[in-house]
Amino acid sequence: MLNFGLLLPAVLNGVTMGAVYALIALGLTLIYGVLHIINFAHGSLLMLALYAAFFLYALGGIDPYVAIFVLMPSFFVLGYGLQRFVIQPTSHGRDENILLVTLGLAIIIDNLALWLWTSTTRTIDTKYSFEVVDLGVALIPLPKAIAFFGALVLAAVLWWLIAWTDLGKAIRAVAREREGARLVGIRVEHIYAMTFGLGTAVVAAAACLLLPAFYVTPQVGYAFVLVAFTTVVLGGMGSFTGALVAGLLLGVVEALCGLYLGESLGQIGIFVIFILVLLFRPTGLFGARA
């Protein structure tokens, strides 16, 4: 049962996949922590960013790691606009409506992609796509190793932004006490949109880090959206450290489930964890008590 020759590579693989989950969940947990909205379109925005990075590489020859500096600002603007001009006015301030609006956005983005770019699976072929890092016990593809460190760096940057800048202070104020923040002169709608924009920019960065090791199809967003929610819920809504730890944990769980139950059942572990956490510990591992 405990064959380390098999177990260790599986765990390491799980850790790298988990870093990807953490990357995707960072933007989601930021949006949830501040706006208290569940952004169902998060996976679709990831898919859109993956396509953007893909086309920048395929048509413009821009390396995905360079594309980060193009896509983060443009997705920030996209996210800002979506929150300010679509989600906010459409939701009429009701939680169920926010969920439904973002679901509507997800349907639109996913199927627009299907219509424009068909369901063909696309990958990019860079010089470093097949490079590996030898860790002694297992070989890790270089792009996955980069994604792992990218997740750490992004989490650190987000933490700094929220903890140490004026914008971060305003975001925390709005998250804590909306009306109070309004009274001291913070433009709440603007901060909401800024937060949504930041979350979207982070998902664009995640896409750029993902693409060299991964693929893109119009369905890829849906494949990730529940995993991303699981990561956020398990880590504690709004906690960056939590998202990192939970992402890595889920990656390992998936890898172990895949090892012992067979490849197709691998994701079951993630969904079961999601249901159990929601039922028994909705505050997650690192979340503040309700």
């Binding site: 939680d95 349907i107 219509w115 529940l226 067979g262 197709s264 039922l279």
Partner: protein
């Protein structure tokens, strides 16, 4: 004209379709509209009257579909008995899930996500076992005859679907006029107030979920008898869950004929888009998404809300 009257007229007109329309295509089209109306009504019982938004209603549809298919193909059960068992199973599993999630006070977005997770678990499970046809799905052998619940004449299925829609409307009417319905709507409006009035929250929501699950499972059974095929994506994929909630929200949440209005409007638009663009994949769904957002923005009471006579508001109250 009130929404009730318009709905009744529409329902009566739909009864005439199989006797007037001879094109196989349009008969199938209206059959689908009726099927999704009943699926929407099942969502409406829970979401519209009970205020619990499920994002994974495909779970119950799929239990009905796979239940009847597995019972017939693997265990050789008679089609009608299989249908009855599958529907009961849908209601039972819904009740069990309801007991779990409502006991732990999951509401709002959490309830939506947990139902989606259950549907995904079911999707992965049926695709993983030989017994449920693994990735290939299940084919019910063709054997026409009334004793097998298979009819050569598609009009028979159409009439059954129409009957289901009538039944669904009666269930909605019952909810609007019964003690249980009043309790359910009280829970939707304010859980704390409802509890203070002595309403058992868990019991009310579990019963609504069981009723809704049984109804959705009925659609699954009907789907399998009609198409004789089901696979994990049709049964438990996101498409059915989205269809169920979309027709309600577009048509009018918590109204008797909302799902019918929604299904007719959405599918008419979707079909028009298909015809106009030469069947581009995905485009009709893009349209669904746009309609959903437009309806949320401008039609808070859906299509049904267009009929209702609005009380005249004084100008100074209008911007309240």
């Amino acid at each position: 004209m009130t929404a009730r009257l318009a709905g009744t007229i529409l329902l009566a007109a739909l009864l005439c379709v199989p006797f007037v329309v001879h094109s196989e295509f349009w008969l199938s089209f209206w059959l689908l509209v009726l099927m999704f109306t009943f699926l929407g009504q099942s969502w409406n019982v829970l979401g519209g009257y009970g205020g619990q938004f499920s994002f994974g209603h495909a779970l119950f549809f799929g239990i009905g579909a796979y239940g009847t298919a597995v019972l017939q193909v693997r265990l050789g059960v008679n089609a009608y008995a299989a249908a009855a068992i599958a529907i009961a199973l849908g209601a039972l599993i819904a009740a069990v899930i309801g007991l779990l999630v409502f006991r732990y006070r999951l509401r709002g977005a959490y309830f939506a996500l947990v139902t989606l997770a259950f549907a995904e678990v079911a999707r992965v499970l049926v695709a993983s076992f030989q017994f449920t046809g693994s990735g290939f799905g299940m084919l019910v052998p063709l054997s026409r005859g009334i004793e097998n619940f298979q009819f050569a004449d598609r009009r028979a299925f159409y009439l059954i679907a129409w009957g289901l829609v009538v039944l669904g409307s009666l269930i909605a009417l019952w909810l609007e006029n019964s003690r249980f319905g009043a309790q359910l709507m009280a829970v939707r409006e304010n859980e704390d107030a409802a509890q203070a009035l002595g309403i058992d929250l868990v019991r009310t929501k579990v019963l609504a979920l069981a009723l809704s699950g049984g109804m959705a499972a009925t659609v699954g059974v009907f789907y399998v008898q009609n198409y004789l095929f089901v696979d994990s994506h049709i049964a438990f994929g996101p498409a059915m869950s989205i269809e169920a909630l979309l027709v309600c929200i577009v048509g009018g949440l918590g109204t008797v004929f909302g799902p019918l209005f929604g299904a007719v409007v959405l599918h008419a638009l979707g079909e028009a888009a298909k015809q106009a663009t030469g069947n581009a994949p995905g485009l009709n769904l893009v349209l669904y998404g746009v309609v959903l957002i437009v309806a949320l923005r401008f039609l808070p009471h859906g299509v049904a809300g267009l009929f209702a006579r609005r009380p005249r508001r004084k100008p100074e109250a209008a911007n309240a």
